[in-house]
């Protein structure tokens, strides 16, 4: 008989349930180094097939299984069971509309992402080979290219909770900064113009929940400050 672990999961099916509820499960601790996603998979495959959540790569690269774990946002696939207080409480990402159980509607989040035009913009004719960067220029992108847009930071940000209709949120601003810093991009001015706004950018009050939440260990607050400093340098 293996050791059992206690877990409570947020359940909500808008078509059937009047309101959300927490459902308790007992799952055997099958192997060392078990991740939270393994537990969810066990429940789905052996206990309750109706449990709904997103997952894909299972190794922290695709960003599908962002959820709120014991009150902190993170990726289920890289969150170890060891060290989590039991019963483990799993809820969907905060401040997003729930489609079902742990699956949230990310339409608005990715709509904001498209607004910053997250692609290389260049006025020069396409070169015959690669657009070259020096190793130093490439190193500028460290700390932002790793972002997988899982939404853990943005949905942990109180400024985004209160003003998410206009504030871009940490993930999108980190991505915006990634393109501002890119030596090959020639739309820096337009990008800064678009962000110079009391709500889109300056609603960040440096609460730093984003940094705490990021499963990749990135620092969106620093990226936002870099955008602010770049705007300052442009002005003065």
């Amino acid at each position: 008989m293996s050791k059992m672990l206690q877990i409570e999961i947020y359940r909500y099916d808008p078509e059937k349930d009047a309101e959300p509820y927490m459902q308790a499960f007992e799952v055997p601790l099958e192997k060392m180094g078990m991740k939270l996603l393994d537990v969810l998979n066990y429940i789905k495959w052996h206990l309750d097939g109706t449990l709904t959540y997103r997952r894909s790569c299972g190794e922290g690269v695709c960003g599908s299984d962002g959820m709120n774990i014991n009150g902190v946002n993170g990726l289920a696939c890289i969150t170890a069971i060891e060290g989590l207080k039991q019963p483990i409480k799993v809820r969907p990402l905060p401040s997003m509309e729930v489609i079902r159980d742990l699956v949230v509607d990310t339409t608005h989040f990715f709509d904001q992402y498209r607004q910053i035009k997250p692609w290389l913009q260049s006025k020069q004719p396409t070169p015959e080979h690669e657009r070259l960067q020096t190793p130093d220029e490439r190193a500028e992108l460290d700390g932002s290219y790793e972002c997988i847009m899982c939404g853990c930071c943005t949905t942990s940000c109180p400024s985004w909770w209160w003003n998410g209709d206009r504030f871009m949120g940490p993930a999108v601003l980190l991505q915006a900064d990634r393109w501002i810093k890119d030596s090959r991009d020639e739309a820096t001015g337009e990008r800064l113009d678009q962000l110079e706004d009391a709500f889109k950018l300056y609603r960040c009050h440096q609460i730093m929940n984003c940094m705490e939440a990021c499963p990749k260990g990135l620092n969106p607050t620093a990226a936002i400050n870099h955008i602010k400093r770049t705007l300052l340098n442009r002005k003065s």
Binding site: E97, T107, Q112, Q115, W162, D165, L195, D197, R203
Partner: protein
Amino acid sequence: MVKKTHDLGSAHSGFKDWYWQRLSAVVLAVLLPGVFILLWSVYIGALDQFGLLDWLDSFVSRLLHTLLIVALIVHAYMGLKVMIEDYVHTGLRVVLIALMLVMMSLFGMWWLALIWAWGG
């Protein structure tokens, strides 16, 4: 919970607020301790009433005092404006911010009158 973004473009307004809030914070950080040193000097008896008035009466003191009160009002206005914008999501927001601006301006003018009219 929002599904669709209403992209109204950039208002090009955030930078100045941010800049003035930080500039006023630096002025406050430099000048406010002076006020507390004066108060403390009175409290420990190093400065009597006339000594304090001598300090406040001097031209440089009045200039610094003016700078302090302007920075204080700018800083309070910017900070409270951001808080109102954060939490008040109706048209009431505009009214509240405008009301605050008028009241703080009045308070500032009254204080400036006190600073410069003192002792004639």
